[in-house]
Symmetry: C4
C-alpha cells in the first residue's frame, strides 16, 4: 500500500485540530483592550498547543519522507496518534479557561504523554514493517528525544499538584527541544 | 474519470467528521478532576465513534486501492456514504450527553445501520462499474462482515428499549470485528 | 499554472462547508424521539443543502477534469464561488431554525442564485482562458441547465412571500435536475 | 525535501480558517429581514477577511509555484504564517460583533500586520534556501507591495483611535492593491 492517502488524511486531521483550537478563543463581548488582556491564559495555552501540534506535523512529515510502504498496523498506529492529538484542543481549552489550575495542567501533560507514546508506537510499527536495516530505522535512531519528552511530561504531571509553573516550564522546555530542527532524517537522507 | 479527487474529497470530509466530534466535548467550567469524570459518557461515545469513523476511512482506503476508475453513479454513492458519516457526530453527542438513554442509543444504531447500507451500495456501484471478474470484485468478496454488521445494528436498535448495555455490546463487537485487520484486499493484491 | 492546488483547496473548502452544517444540528437536551422529531425542519434543510453542496462539488470535479491550465482570473472566480458556497450553512441554519419562514426561504434562494451566477462566471473565465474551440468549451456547452436553475431561484425568491412551499418545490426541482447525471463532459471526453 | 506536503497542509489550514469564520455568523433567532440587516458589521468583516485570507492563499500558491525544495526553517516560517492567519477569525469576530469599535479595529490591523511580517519572513527563508540568483528570488522581487501593506497596517492601527473609518479605508486599499493580479511571478516564469 502506498503512503499518499495516509499522509493526506493525517494532514487533514492535523490541520483541523490546529485550527479548531481557535474556536475556543471566545470573542469578548466588550470592546476594550482590557477584555482582550483578560484572555491571556487562553492565548498562552493556544500558542503552546499550536507549537506542539506544529511539532507533531513537522515530525510526522519528516518521518514519512523515509517511509516506503504501509500496512494495516501502521494505519491504526497512525489513527491512534490522531486520536490523542484530537484531545489537545480539549485539554488546551480546559487549561486556558481555568487559568492553569492544577487538574487541567495535569491533564494537559497526560494528553502530551499519550501523544508521545502514540508517536513512539507509530515509529516502531513502521520500523517493524521496514526492517531494522532500513533507511527509516537509521533515520529514527535511538529515539532519545522522544524518551526525554515522555519523562518530562510524567514529571510535569507529578509537579502540577505542587506548582503548575514547574509543569509549564517542562512543557516549554520540551517544545523548545523539538523546535531546534531535527537533523537526523535530513542527514541520513544525504 | 480518475479517482484522485474523490479520494481527496472523502479524506477531507472524513477528517473533518472525526475531528469536529471533539467540539462536543464541552469543557467543564470547574477545574476539578470530578468535573472531568462526570463527562465519561461523552468521552466513551467519542472514543467509540472515533473508532467507527476510523474503520470507515480505513475500509474506504483499502477499497479505493483496487479502484481503477469512477463514474457519476459512484460519485453519488460515495456522497451518500459521506452524508450518513456526517450524522455520526450528532448521534454521538445526543447519546453521550444523555448518558446512553434508550432513544439516543437506538438512533446511534440507526446511523451506523445506514452507514453500513451506504457502504454496501458504494461497493456494489464500484463492482458494477469494474465488472464481476475485476480485481475489485474479488477483493471485496462476499461481504459477510458487512452483512453481519448490519444485522448486529438492527438487533442493537431493537434491544435498546430493553437494555442499552446489550446494544452497546453489539456496537463494541462490530467495531472489534472490523479492527481485526481485513486481509482480503491485501491478499488479493499479492 | 497547474490546476492541482486549486482543486485541493476547493476540495478542502467544500468538504468543510458540507460538514460544518452538521454543527447547526444542535443536539436536543432531552432524550426522547419527540425531541428529535421536533428538529425536522433543521434536518430537511440540512439534507437539501448537503445535496446542493454535493452537486457543486460534483460539477466542479467534472469541470476541472477538462481544465488544462489556470490563471489569476480563474483563481479569483473560483474564490468567489467558494465565498457564496460558504454562505450556504448560514442560510440553511436560518431557514431550518425558523421552520421555513418567508424571509429565510428567500435568503436561501438568493444564496443559491449567487452560487449559480458565481459558477457561471467561473465557467466563462475558464473558457476565455482555454479558447472557444477547446475541449472545455465544447464540454460545457450552452449552459442551459445553469440558466434554468438561476431562473428557478429567482422565481422561488419571488414566490417565498406568497407560499414558501412553492419556493421549496423549486429548490427540490433544481436539485433533482442536477442529480440526474450530466453526461456532457463524460461524452465529450469519449 | 519536497514541497507537496507543506502545500497540502497549508491548503488544509487556510481552507479551514476561511471557512470557520462563517461559524461566527450567528443565525438570528427571529426570521425577519431586519434581523438579518442588523448583522451588517459581521457580514462586512467576514467579506473583508474572506478576501484577505483568499489573497494569502493566492500569494502562497504563486510563491510555491517557483519553490523547488524546502527545509526545516521554511517549515517553521510557514507554520508561523499559519499561526497569524489563524488569528484572523478571532479578530474578525471581535471587530464585527462590536460594530467596528476602536480597539477591535486596531487588533484587526495588528493581526494583518503580523501576517504581513510572517509572509515576508517566509519569503526570505525561501530565498535564503534557493539563493539570490534563483528564479524564486527574481520572481519575488523587491517586495514593494509587501512593505507598503505593512506600512498601511501600521498607519491604520494608529488611526483607529481617532477614526475607525480611516483604518477601514486602509484595510480596503491594501486588499484592492493585492486583488489586482500580481504578474511578477507569472512573467518571470515566462
Amino acid at each position: 500500500m502506498k503512503k499518499g492517502r495516509i499522509e493526506a488524511f493525517s494532514d487533514g486531521v492535523i490541520a483541523i485540530i490546529i485550527t479548531i483550537m481557535v474556536l475556543e478563543l471566545k470573542v469578548p463581548h466588550a470592546a476594550e483592550f482590557k477584555n482582550l488582556l483578560a484572555l491571556w491564559p487562553v492565548f498562552l495555552s493556544y500558542i503552546l498547543s499550536f507549537i506542539y501540534v506544529g511539532i507533531y506535523w513537522n515530525n510526522h512529515h519528516h518521518l514519512f519522507v523515509v517511509v516506503d510502504r504501509i500496512n494495516g498496523r501502521v494505519l491504526w498506529a497512525n489513527m491512534h496518534l490522531l486520536f490523542w492529538l484530537s484531545m489537545v484542543p480539549f485539554a488546551t481549552a480546559w487549561m486556558g479557561e481555568n487559568h492553569f489550575a492544577p487538574a487541567p495542567v495535569a491533564l494537559y501533560g497526560f494528553v502530551l504523554l499519550m501523544n508521545g507514546i502514540a508517536y513512539s508506537i507509530l515509529t516502531r510499527s513502521l520500523i517493524k514493517h521496514h526492517g531494522n536495516d532500513s533507511v527509516l530505522a537509521k533515520a529514527v535512531g535511538s529515539g532519545f528525544k522522544g524518551t526525554l519528552s515522555v519523562a518530562s511530561y510524567a514529571l510535569a504531571i507529578g509537579c502540577s499538584f505542587f506548582s503548575v509553573w514547574i509543569s509549564g516550564a517542562f512543557y516549554v522546555f520540551v517544545a523548545l527541544m523539538w523546535l531546534i530542527p531535527d537533523k537526523r532524517i535530513e542527514k541520513t537522507l544525504e
